[in-house]
């Protein structure tokens, strides 16, 4: 309880923030071992935030564990990949009238105690999407060299495209408002590293981005699901997708109809 009041003081408008209906979207694929722990931690840190786990076709007991831990569970009939799974969560958030949505990983990398820092710019109306960055000074986040290089290249390229310095474009620790939800429910990139593409897309649609420093833990469980050839494939896909997105039409209306 003590930590909670501390973090609330750090947030600029605790009263307003309290009233905004908020949902945490947790995409999960075969995370039965730790999903309950992640959800419990999340609910302890933020009791007012509803948790939605999108089970992306798990073959283990992820869905049951998540439900037992008190999350809403949406089970996809088969594996859609991370992009399609997260988008399901965005659609849920939009349809259930949530004003703010978080996205966070099921592997325990994202510390729910950072949620207040993440949410603050959205609450203040300064940004439509807030990205939690590992590389803005908080903590030491060890990344293998090859991956770090790829991340740096993406960050550089994306920064140029969106005309705004961003340091951690592949971070999937994000908060967003309904404007962003509406776009992402309508259109969202497929597959892995989708957050990089989503960042470019959001910027093209005129959504305001902001990065905040967050402390990320080394993954608590399991290993990265990415193998080197697969990583190369996705990196290539993202580069192509980013290039093409520069020439895409952006004629989808983000304003809510009254």
């Amino acid at each position: 309880m003590a930590t909670r009041s501390e973090t609330l003081q750090a947030a600029p408008a605790p009263d307003r923030r309290r009233r905004l209906r908020t949902v945490a979207i947790v995409p999960a694929l075969n995370e039965a071992e730790q999903i309950a722990k992640v959800i419990t931690e999340l609910r302890d840190a933020e009791p007012e935030v509803e948790v939605v786990v999108v089970d992306d076709g798990s073959t283990d007991t992820t869905a049951a564990e998540a439900r037992r831990a008190g999350a809403h569970v949406i089970r996809l009939p088969f594996n859609l990949g991370i992009g399609g799974a997260v988008q399901t969560g965005f659609k849920y958030a939009l349809e259930h009238g949530f004003e703010i949505a978080f996205q966070l990983d099921a592997d325990g990398q994202h510390d729910p105690r950072e949620l207040d820092a993440l949410i603050a710019p959205v609450v203040r109306g300064e940004a439509d999407i807030v990205i939690g960055s590992r590389f803005l000074g908080l903590g030491q986040y060890a990344v293998p060299r090859g991956r770090r290089l790829a991340m740096a290249v993406f960050a550089r390229v994306v920064s140029i495209i969106v005309r705004q310095p961003l340091s951690d474009t592949s971070s999937s620790f994000r908060a967003m408002n309904r404007r962003a939800l509406r776009l992402f429910a309508h259109e969202y990139p497929h597959g892995y590293l989708e957050t990089v593409e989503a960042t470019v897309m959001a910027s093209k649609y005129g959504l305001r981005l902001k990065e905040v420093p967050v402390l990320m833990r080394q993954r608590m469980f399991g290993r990265s699901s990415l193998t080197i050839p697969l990583a190369g494939f996705y990196a290539f896909k993202v580069v192509v997708a980013m290039f093409i997105s520069l020439f895409r039409r952006t004629d989808y209306h983000l304003e809510e109809k009254p």
Binding site: E48, E50, V54, R67, G70, A71, H72, V73, I74, R75, L76, P77, F78, L80, G84, Q87, T88, K91, Y92, E95, H190
Partner: protein
């Protein structure tokens, strides 16, 4: 161009057309997806039979050996057909994704309706 090549090419085109026809007839192939194939078969057949047209075309694009031109034309058509199918697959997979998401969201809603003790109770005791 020898008569034999013409006959073989025309025969192959006819077989292709016959197979497409049979697939449509037995409803294993929808007409909208067969149209490009039919066009491919017809063009190959026409060029195989009408040697003057093939020779003119080959000369126009700078191919000295007209049967090669037939090969090029056939390849071009197959390329178009494949590209067309790529777009069809993309559209289908997009729809498949949307349907899977829709299904999952509806299933979730149904579950909340039938067992309000689960997630939805938490939501109501807050408001």
């Amino acid at each position: 161009m020898t008569l034999r090549i013409s006959l073989v090419a025309a025969g192959a085109a006819l077989i292709l057309l016959a197979v497409i026809f049979e697939l449509i007839r037995s409803r294993r192939l929808q007409e909208r997806y067969a149209l490009l194939w039919l066009l491919t078969g017809v063009v190959i057949f026409v060029l195989a039979v009408w040697r003057g047209a093939l020779a003119t075309f080959a000369h126009a694009v700078g191919i000295h050996y007209p049967p090669s031109a037939l090969f090029i034309v056939a390849s071009a058509f197959i390329l178009v057909v494949l590209l067309h199918y790529s777009t069809v697959i993309s559209e289908l997979s997009e729809r498949n994704t949307t349907l899977a998401q829709r299904l999952a969201l509806l299933e979730n809603r149904l579950q909340e309706l039938s067992s309000p003790a689960d997630g939805s109770a938490r939501r109501s005791d807050r408001s």
